[in-house]
């Protein structure tokens, strides 16, 4: 493949343009939930 045939560097498939930020937000929300669970365990409020 010649240099001219290389795709532009700053390009990402359309699907990932939308999917990645949504996935990152979901991960952030899950981390917050897990953090809340950990704090409730520390405070002795979580069952078990």
């Amino acid at each position: 493949m010649s240099p001219r045939e290389h795709p532009p560097k700053r390009q990402m498939p359309d699907f990932y343009e939308h999917f990645v930020p949504i996935a990152l937000v979901i991960i952030l929300v899950l981390m917050i939930i897990l953090g809340i669970v950990a704090v409730t365990v520390l405070l002795g409020l979580w069952p078990g």
């Binding site: 990645v20 991960i27 981390m31 897990l34 669970v37 704090v39």
Partner: protein
Amino acid sequence: MSTQLLDGVLPLMSSLVTFLFAFFVFQRWQQRHRLHLLFWGIGLLFYGTGGAMEAYYGLVGWHPLVFRIWYLLGAVLVAAWLGQGTVFLLMRRRLAWILFAILAVGSLYATYKVFSATLDPTLMLGGELSGGAITSSGVRILTPFFNIYGVLMLTGGAAYSAWIFWRKRVLLNRVIGNLFIAVGAMAPGFGGAFQRAGMPYALYIGEFLGAVLMFIGFMQATRKTEAETED
């Protein structure tokens, strides 16, 4: 058979996947000599050993030493040591060493506490290992501290890396790989939380999913892309 499958074979599969994963990570560490790979490899050995102890309990039966090794490596230390790898990857070296010193002292203290704890296996529910068997005070309370640090660093670090690569619009394989690692790193945490709440096999399923997702993520993030191969 179905109970034995979940009690013994599922953690055995987690263990095998994780040891294979550790092999690839150590192989990469041998080639590159990067500290984060060494810590990830050690963390994965802890993960795999924890799974092996669970499998032993499910297939063979109770042994206090098996329980102590499982609790120390599989419940207390694993996430923190994996997270320490990410700390060495993303943070300044000096700060990473300070955090490691704290982790090392904490790990020694946890080792002492776990190996001196009194145990009562009748307090565990079903055929799976759980921290409920520990009757001494001041042991189970250590676990959240290690796990908060580990999950925050491992999941947070992977999500941060994915975001950086995505923002720069480069190395899509690393974006996807890091997303897998971020989700996989949280799976055992959710499994442990559900197990504490009384849901059977939640921990073992979470651990298996975590091992598989992180392994896929690592292979995806480290594979050579077409552009790299052609360069």
